[in-house]
């Protein structure tokens, strides 16, 4: 179906698959998408002193959705929360060479990052 080698690599060797305790104070969780749309992404970050020390994902979706979330976790680890919030879907499109029909997968990944950060920040305020 014309996947790039990078998408195939992430699909075959997904990085950071897993789950963290969503109730932990230092964990932010983002769940985006819907089953009836054919993709749901769960992305989690663990933060220490404003730096993302760990990131995990689980994704129901096509190969490009799996690759987008896998790549996102790779990029998140070691970044500051501020820098993580600057990741754009277009960066993911470029890195994975996604065709136009798969751009929504990268949008979903960007939304998941934003939601995870927002969830973490909400926890810090309370």
């Amino acid at each position: 179906m014309g996947y790039s080698n990078k998408v195939i690599d992430h699909y075959e060797n997904p990085r950071n698959v897993g789950s963290m305790d969503k109730d932990a104070a230092d964990v932010g969780t983002g769940v985006v998408g819907a089953p009836e749309c054919g993709d749901v992404m769960k992305l989690q970050i663990q933060v220490e002193d404003g730096v993302i020390t760990d990131a995990k994902f689980k994704t129901f979706g096509c190969g490009s959705a799996i690759a987008s979330s896998s790549l996102a976790t790779e990029w998140l680890k070691g970044r500051t929360v501020t820098s993580a919030s600057e990741i754009r879907n277009t960066d993911i499109v470029e890195e994975l060479e996604l065709p136009p029909v798969k751009i929504h997968c990268s949008v979903l990944a960007e939304d998941a990052i934003k939601q995870a950060i927002a969830d973490y920040q909400t926890k810090q305020k309370s």
């Binding site: 179906m1 996947y3 698959v17 089953p35 009836e36 749901v40 096509c62």
Partner: protein
């Protein structure tokens, strides 16, 4: 890139490879015997015409028809279009109401839609969760101004087989013409246009190990005589119903493919069904949350359509790159909607996205089925390990109660 031959082909409802016997029969008609069947003035034309008429006789006899009732076309899509548009236009003064079913192939639904846009009224019968229509619904839908009912024999996506003889009887009693798209069953299941009261029947060569680009339309000539307005105009071939130089090698191939299928008969179908059942059993035994799409019994022998809960179809196909199957997922087709057939059967969009269609064929082996079962089970388990939906389900969360941030 692997060569296609290293792949396991399980997509026999999409197409089949040309049987070597069929190919051999076709070959002389490309170069040595290349005549135009419409050439009346020389032997090149006569021998082509003779071959076409011999093919016509074979095919007609195979479905209980007369030679003159068989028209050759470019395939089932053209046959469906000619049947529906041809009848609608010819009988417009009698009435402008047609009946079909929501799970028909697009080659039936789209011409119906085109007629609706031009002022005809179309009734589209619903189906139940197995893809079956209600005969009472059909009876109730027939009106004074109904001219045609078009219902397929076997469904291409889920394999559900409609009770064609009963439908034919209802139409005959009501004095309404009955068109049957038999693309998936022609040559595989018994068809008798007399016993089944079929007035028009579409079929294609490439689903039965014949060449692509050739098919037929049966058009009843007696009791009642069906008349058609042609949609292709030109040299007046096929008694004026379908102009265009006849595809002689294709027609010869269609008849041979039909003969070979008839020879294989019930024994071949039984073998295919046994392999289909083996795959079905293996998948259902090894995996939970899998769902059969289509009628459990009244189903094409070759067809196995399954939804694998909590995994998405395209990613599943990506996990089995050496196996050729088809998916009901939107991601693998040109349209953005998941399968309208599954949706009509009440399958949720999530499970429609998770469906695979396996099509067992003449060349499928038991070893291939075993490899496929193993590969699918492995891929489903792997994808479930990374599926947030599977995780939620295992935690006892009812996914239907979750508020999704839809996209």
């Amino acid at each position: 890139m692997n060569t296609p031959s290293s792949h396991i082909y399980l997509d026999s409802q999409a197409t089949t490879s040309v049987d070597p016997q069929v190919l051999e029969t076709m070959l002389p008609w490309f170069h040595e015997k290349f005549g135009n069947a419409a050439s009346r003035s020389h032997s090149f034309g006569w021998e082509a015409d003779k071959a076409v008429e011999s093919a016509r006789a074979t095919l007609a006899a195979g479905i209980g028809a007369k030679s003159r009732e068989i028209l050759f076309t470019s395939g089932a899509t053209e046959s469906d279009n000619l049947a529906i548009l041809g009848v609608a236009k010819m009988y417009a003064s009698k009435g402008k109401h047609l009946i079909t079913c929501v799970t028909e192939h697009k080659a039936v639904l789209d011409p119906m839609q085109a007629l609706e846009n031009d002022g005809w009224k179309i009734t589209c019968l619903e189906v139940d969760e197995n893809g079956c229509l209600s005969l009472d619904d059909l009876k109730n839908a027939i009106q004074e101004n109904t001219v045609l009912v078009s219902i397929m024999h076997g469904n291409n996506e889920v394999g559900t087989v409609h009770p064609i003889a009963e439908i034919g009887a209802i139409c005959r009693e009501a004095g309404v013409l009955f068109h049957c798209d038999a693309t998936q069953t022609f040559g595989k299941m018994p068809l008798d246009v007399e016993a089944m009261n079929i007035d028009l029947l579409s079929a294609s060569a490439h689903k039965i190990y014949g060449p692509k680009g050739v098919g037929l339309l049966y058009v009843r000539r007696r009791n009642p005589r069906v008349r058609l307005t042609p949609i292709m105009h030109g040299g007046g071939h096929e008694r004026g119903f379908r102009s265009g130089t006849l595809n002689v090698p294709g027609i010869v191939g269609l008849a041979k493919a039909f003969e070979v299928s008839q020879e294989g008969g019930a024994a071949e179908q039984d073998r295919i069904k046994e392999l289909r059942n083996l795959l079905e059993t293996k998948l259902f035994d090894a995996l939970e949350s899998v769902y059969l799409n289509g009628h459990p019994e009244n189903r094409l022998d070759c067809c196995l359509n399954i939804s694998f809960g909590f995994v998405e179809g395209e990613s599943l196909i990506m996990g089995m790159p050496d196996i050729a199957v088809s998916s009901g997922s939107a991601c693998t087709s040109a349209s953005l909607e998941p399968s309208y057939v599954l949706r009509a059967m009440g399958v949720g969009d999530d499970l429609a996205h998770s469906s695979l269609r396996f099509g067992i064929g003449r060349w499928t082996t038991k070893e291939e089925i075993e490899t496929v079962a193993e590969t699918v089970i492995h891929a489903v388990n792997r994808l479930r390990d990374m599926s947030p939906l599977w995780e939620m389900d295992q935690e006892g969360i009812d996914l239907s109660t979750v508020q999704w941030a839809g996209h």
